[in-house]
Symmetry: C2
Subunit: 318 residues, 2 copies
């Protein structure tokens, strides 16, 4: 369930656009006024505001934000004001341009989003960058990472719930053998993780756990040969198995690190999930950390960025 | 351009359905009557006939054809009566189940169809078989074939016309080196062929030809180390470079072999292209063989199958 609070009597888009324009006037920017509008509008409403703003003031709202805002707030608002699939295309592109690719973003999109949602991101990526996502992933990665990531971002998985139990058993055994032989980059491991449906993979992981008394992701974590690639495999498995639990951990690590600059990860989870399942992520966080995510964010972040994130987390404007 | 002839005054679907039902009555099936209807209806009209038939007679027309027809005609009608994307899903599935996979079908669909058309085939495949095309390709192929074919059927290529000339040059050089070293299965070769847009690849192939004085597909054909895999690479390159020329050759080889049973390939090209570019394929055939495709088909095939194929080639009913 979503956390985003949208008032019953949402003003028409031109009124919202006027309010944002007013926040740009005078000395400095009135960030609070911007948060008070955008922090309480869904994707369709935000799009209408962008359109209304452009018609009224003949300037691009996204570009204007770039010059009016700065730092974490700027990046968060930028990610929030774009259409969701377009924002995700930007996030994927940013991840690919980092010196050490931030593969987690690509894994999240390809393993958590529905096949159709992820396809929309691939379309948006092409529209924005005039290249396919898979060709940029292929050109920016190497060796086993390339195989895994190109497979993941190319997949258009079957989305049905049917399961082939015999196949789950035989492929659990393939995974088992690969883990025993430390052949983590084995072609079959990559084939299974990148092509099978999520329902099928969950059945396979369950078989693995039943046969080995330990989940495959835990076993990968314990392996002495663990490295960046086994980390990537673990991320794939965790995203498929339990996205809420996965996101909870991303948020937990981000908050621990805040001040050391992982607002980016916190922003990403909040903006991508606020209209989907951020409520469950908050519940998982509360349960796991004995403190609410709202309190943790209040404590560890600051300024207008904090107010914006708290708004998306479902808190009313002060 | 299409070859399919659709009369200006197409009867309503229920009249067509009645005519087909009448052809099933009495001793034997009146194949000519079936060809006279189905050979002159486009995909949307055929769907309407299927629906009307089911409503009028409470039986599935596709199944009924299976019991009424036989041999090449049955297979051709079956491929023609299905929705195009559903038919292509069937063709892909049949290709994967052959003892030696018929990779050409997969290459055609992935390299000739537009990204959206091919995606529709992938969707239809999932709907029909409850698995993704890429997982079946991965499970049924091995080694370098798996890498190439999984890459091809997973691709959702950028469809725009923009070209990066520098990239075309550098990737032409990568292909050149691979051909020189006979490293045809090199990761980069597969990456380039499976992920780049068609426009970009054509620019790359042109660079190759300019620099080497011979096209890459010709050079692959002349290589002494040529094998089934270099054949597959050649098929990819030819499908991307010039689909009409590619199809002409498929038809030419099929007709040469007819009697030795390559009606399947002839049927495939005719049913998949009759509503698209079969007219250009016919022109290319005529030019290359100094005989029209209609005459060649008349001479080399027979019976109701012949009449059906001639109908789809744009010939009026006798």
């Amino acid at each position: 369930m979503a956390t985003l609070l949208v008032p019953h009597d949402v003003p028409p888009p031109n009124v919202d656009a006027e309010a944002i324009k007013a926040a740009f006037r005078g000395w400095g920017t009135d960030e609070k006024a911007i948060v008070a509008v955008l922090g309480y509008r869904n994707a369709g409403q935000r799009r209408q505001i962008r359109i209304a703003y452009e018609q009224l003031f003949e300037e691009d709202l996204v570009k204007r934000f770039e010059s009016e805002l700065s730092g974490h707030l700027e990046r968060a608002v930028y990610r929030w004001i774009l259409d969701p699939e377009d924002r995700d295309a930007v996030l994927a592109h940013v991840a690919l341009r980092k010196p050490t690719e931030d593969f987690a973003v690509l894994v999240e999109f390809s393993c958590i989003y529905s096949p159709e949602e992820f396809l929309a991101v691939r379309r948006a990526y092409q529209h924005r960058y005039k290249r396919s996502l898979e060709e940029d992933v292929a050109a920016n990665t190497h060796d086993e990472f390339r195989k895994l990531l190109v497979g993941l971002v190319s997949a258009y998985r079957y989305n049905g719930g049917e399961i082939d139990a015999r196949l789950a058993k035989s492929e659990a055994e393939i995974l088992e053998r690969a883990v025993k032989d430390k052949a983590f980059n084995h072609e079959d491991v990559i084939r299974i993780l990148t092509t099978r449906s999520k329902a099928q993979l969950i059945a396979t992981f369950n078989h693995y756990k039943d046969a080995n008394g330990i989940s495959i992701s835990k076993q990968l974590g314990q392996d002495r040969a663990a490295n960046e690639f086994t980390e990537a495999l673990k991320t794939v498995i965790r995203c498929i198995n339990d996205p809420i639990k996965y996101y909870e951990k991303v948020v937990r690590n981000a908050i621990k690190k805040v001040g050391k600059s992982d607002e980016d990860a916190l922003t990403r989870v909040v903006v991508t999930r606020a209209e989907k399942d951020l409520r469950q992520i908050k519940e998982a966080y509360h349960k796991r950390n004995s403190v609410t995510l709202d309190d943790a964010v209040s404590k560890e972040t600051s300024g207008d960025y904090k107010h914006f994130i708290l708004a998306l987390l479902g808190n009313k404007a002060e």
